[in-house]
Amino acid sequence: MTLTNPAPMPAQDVCMSLQDVTISYGKFEAVKNVFMDIPKGQVTAFIGPSGCGKSTVLRGLNRMNDLIPGCSLRGRVVFDGTDIYAPNVDPVEVRRRIGMVFQKPNPFPKTIYENIAFGARINGYKGDMDELVERSLRKAAVWDECKDKLKESGLALSGGQQQRLCIARAIATEPEVILMDEPCSALDPISTLKIEETMHELKRSYTIIIVTHNMQQAVRVADMTAFYNAEAVEGGTGKVGYLVEFAETERIFNAPSQQATQDYVTGRFG
């Protein structure tokens, strides 16, 4: 397979660099031989059919896979000049600098205020907490809906509001990167649009990497798009995911270099 990466970027513009990454669950390889340089300050989307390993790669970027028994990663994931899988790296530090928004909204069973303050506090925030809460909620475009009920449980919000609360929670810790794992899959179209607007807002300050099932969403929000696919392996029982193509979103959707990408983005995917 040929990998077509965009023209090499200057090193300081690279946020995260995946170098021959292979992730396995037990003996089964879920996704293999991924090379990519994710640019700083842009939105990168991962698209592809179910089971192609795009979520697995995303979760590998802040070591959330550590929490899954039997999951292991080979290769290097370089962030800020360090391989985050090096033995002397503290996954907790990694997650403090690379935040995450999950597929299902998962506010903590605490008040809205505490949901935001919690992460900031454990990250050693010393400033004005009220201000941080307000700023984070504003950035996540959910301030107007919850400014009057900061002392109510985060679970009292609607699904879309909960997800934006989770985004606010992630940005309150001022991470350098925000990973979003299909953040809109459980939401209605209006909430989805609001979250996409939020993302446009956020990319001024953060590097965003988003996994999405929805190709229109990738077109709307992403600067760069990576297309993952899965193929059956000889002798194996399951499929192994791999990176097909990674380029500017426009190129992926209008002039992809790979036939598989062309088939997928035009809906001719078998």
Binding site: G41, F79, E93
Partner: protein
């Protein structure tokens, strides 16, 4: 440390440390401390099990012999003897208890899941069942004493194996009902619909489809309930009482291993104390075997 990229916002709000693991950080030290405490707590929690099993094996195991099961306990002060009557008695009393509580419990559980429509009556039964499960075991002895022993309803007999069995049945009943109810709830609704769909009556559906489908969880729960009942003492001390002789039918006082352990443990005689350990060994082995059996049964449900 600060990065030079233009889009980076005020990262100065937070201290940025290098990504490397720093074992001297307060949070990492705290983590290690708490993990050690949890491990210590768990070790303390399992320590008694080791010690109890160890002593039962050592103290009771060395007394194992055939005569232990064929002889009667000696009169106080004499050596030798066995616990044959108590082993037999425990089996008889537990059988009586099972014969009463299993049909009632399974039937009651079937009612709760299959017939009740979860109306006020079944709510009442469910709550009542939970309350009954929380009633101290000694109270069920008091109850049976009041109803059966002191009234001599069984042919003028006061203390009897039957009374002891009924007291144990009172303890087993809530467990059997609960396991049946929960086991039946696990049976997929589609299975029942399938049976009704071919014109089966409710009775046939329950007996031929639903109950067999829930057999594994019910059997597991019932075996555990029997094991628990076999080790119970409190309800027996003034219902089944004790007897130094071989069992004489279910309407006479009967020896059981658990009451034997209680009576002989507090006697000042070495021989009796030793028999108490021997009975503990037999009882613990029986109960552990039942637990293994229950695990073995429940392993079928995963297929």
């Amino acid at each position: 440390m600060t990065t030079t990229t233009p889009f980076q916002p005020g990262s100065a709000l937070f201290d940025r440390r290098p990504l490397t693991f720093d074992p001297t950080l307060k949070r990492n030290r705290l983590n290690r401390l708490l993990t050690s405490i949890a491990a210590l707590f768990a070790a303390i929690a399992v320590l008694p099990l080791f010690l109890v099993i160890l002593y039962v094996l050592v103290q009771g195991g060395r007394l194992m012999s055939l005569s232990l099961f064929t002889q009667l306990p000696p009169p106080p002060g004499l050596e030798g003897g066995g616990i044959g009557n108590a082993v037999l008695g425990t089996i008889i009393v537990t059988l009586v208890a099972s014969a009463i509580s299993i049909p009632i419990g399974v039937g009651g559980g079937v009612y709760l899941t299959e017939y009740s429509n979860r109306g006020w009556f079944s709510q009442f039964i469910s709550v009542g069942n939970d309350i009954l499960a929380g009633v101290p075991s000694i109270i069920s002895g008091v109850f049976v004493y009041g109803v059966i022993v002191s009234t001599r309803v069984f042919f003028g007999q006061s203390y009897s194996a039957a009374a002891g069995g009924i007291a144990l049945a009172v303890l087993m009943l809530p467990t059997v009902i609960k396991t049946t109810d929960e086991g039946l709830k696990l049976v997929p609704q589609e299975l029942r619909w399938g049976a009704y769909g071919v014109g089966a009556s409710k009775f046939v559906t329950v007996m031929r489809i639903t109950l067999p489908a829930a057999f594994t969880p019910i059997a597991t729960g019932v075996v555990l309930a029997i094991a628990r009942a076999a080790g119970e003492t409190a309800p027996l001390i003034f219902t089944a009482l004790f007897s130094p002789f071989w069992p004489e039918g279910v309407f006479n006082p009967i020896a059981t291993m658990s009451v034997l352990i209680f009576n002989f443990a507090i006697m000042p005689y070495e021989a009796q104390n030793e028999l108490a350990w021997a009975a503990s060994f037999v009882l613990v082995m029986m109960i552990l075997a039942a637990n293994l059996l229950a695990r073995w049964i429940s392993s079928f449900s995963r297929t």
